[in-house]
Amino acid sequence: MTTEPAVAVRGLTKIFPVPFRRNPLVAIRDLDLQVVAGEVYGLLGPNGSGKSTTLKIILGLVSPTRGEAKIFGRSSSLVSSRAGVGFLPENPYFYRYLTGQETLSFFGKLCGLRRDRLRKRIDELLKLVGLTNARERRLGTYSKGMLQRIGLAQALINDPKLVVLDEPTAGVDPAGSRAICDLILDLKRRGITALLSSPLLAQAQEICDRVGILANGILIREGKLEELIAIENRSEFVLENASDALVAEIEALAQRSNAKLIARRKSTTTLERLFLDATKDRPNE
């Protein structure tokens, strides 16, 4: 197991000149961040906060104005640093004239996979993303969610150690979004590092180990999720089958010890879970 961080970014600044304007656009300012191997790191922030630019610099698609980015200890400006990386861009449009299988074959060949190994890998990935039945269909006929899933499959074609996902659930319906989140959690279980950007905070909260929050190109908060969102002076109990008497007793006990009861309510499911349960097993008519 490598001891190098999966991603190490130091003093990263990116300035884009704006034609006919004196003031250039500073997309990222002095960014430092590290993604530890094996974790899921979420880069959060509003639109235009510099998330995609950061990911592009890490992947060597854009050169930094100052600072450096490394992938497993190799400068991301080197092509070889991307040998163990998979990338899913935001709203990807792959070649519409290729079938799902041809798409994976093309990206596999770019990664040096050939013949039996490539065929086996394509079968594995189509099964993993649930597109085995659509393997012979051209991507022009795929839905948004299917495109996103084939995008994730191409990102995994080279069995990467690091996957970089730029808004992986953008524009996908809740079921597709759930499937993608489950795939990311599955990657984590298999020891694959994931660096993802997302404006969807609830989703990031569910799948990320650590998050960094970008605003105007500056990393304003960073840390383990549970530490960042914990409220120090508050505690929660979730009881099942508690009688009214027991609840009353707990309330009384809290009052006697000068604690303040903030809220008492029935436990609820999430809207996502409600939607998924309601639409499950109902094929499109």
Partner: protein, 300 residues
Amino acid sequence: MTTETALDFQHRAFSPGRVFAITSNTLTELTRQKVFYVVLIFALLLIGSSIVLARFSFQQEFQILKDVSLGAISIFTSLLAIVATARLIPQDIEDRTVYTILAKPVARFEYLIGKLIGVLLLLAISTAIMSAMFLAVLYFREQSALHETARQLANAPQEQLEDALRAVRASAFNYNLVPGIAVIYLKSCLLASLALFISTFASTNIFTIVVMTFVYLIGHLQATAREYWLQENVPTWTARVFLALVALLFPDLQAFNLVDDVVAGAAIPLAVFVKTAVLGLFYTTIYAFLAAFVFYGKEL
């Protein structure tokens, strides 16, 4: 799951396998576009229509047939080279496909070379199809002329008949057609490479097509203008540098126009063919290098 990971691979700075993957994908992309078939069908129709040309003497007929067909091959391969190449890079950037490709261990020059070779293969296929159609029409007309001549000279002495048939054969196919077609192909390669270079900094394919149209027109006129100017003036070294720059920016496309000689039945000297071929390969390579240089520093 496979146990060997991508990190275990020994990365090579240049991989023919990666270039081939991009080349074959580019060829698939281009041959699945309607524009390829539209251009090809127009060219084939034009060449095929030569079969019903007004019947002059067979020499005139073959000359017109060659003129029309080689002209059609030249214009349509040039058109295809520009139109097919102009959209390759901007389209990939607009669709973000270029991100997924370059986020793999693929060097930018490998991507560009793969794209260029894909276009050059498409041009080779188109040139081959158009040439096959042209040669088939030429053969058909030659056979027809041979039969007609044999019929007309049925009662003439054998020697006169053989002379006449030899004259028909000499007017129809001659081996100069092959280098003539090869030079047309080289011209289209040059145009494709230049279009690729322009498309590396163009934001739309329309821009590339408009610029290439000007380059095409100026490229055909610049040699005449240069010769006229040199006859009238004694060139200084600054003028020579300027002319060299113009020649680099606007390749002398007239130098690739050997069709007139071929149509007239004149032989293309080997030295002229080699010089033209080297010039074509030189321009194609220079523009490919320039494209790689610009694309290397491009912010995607």
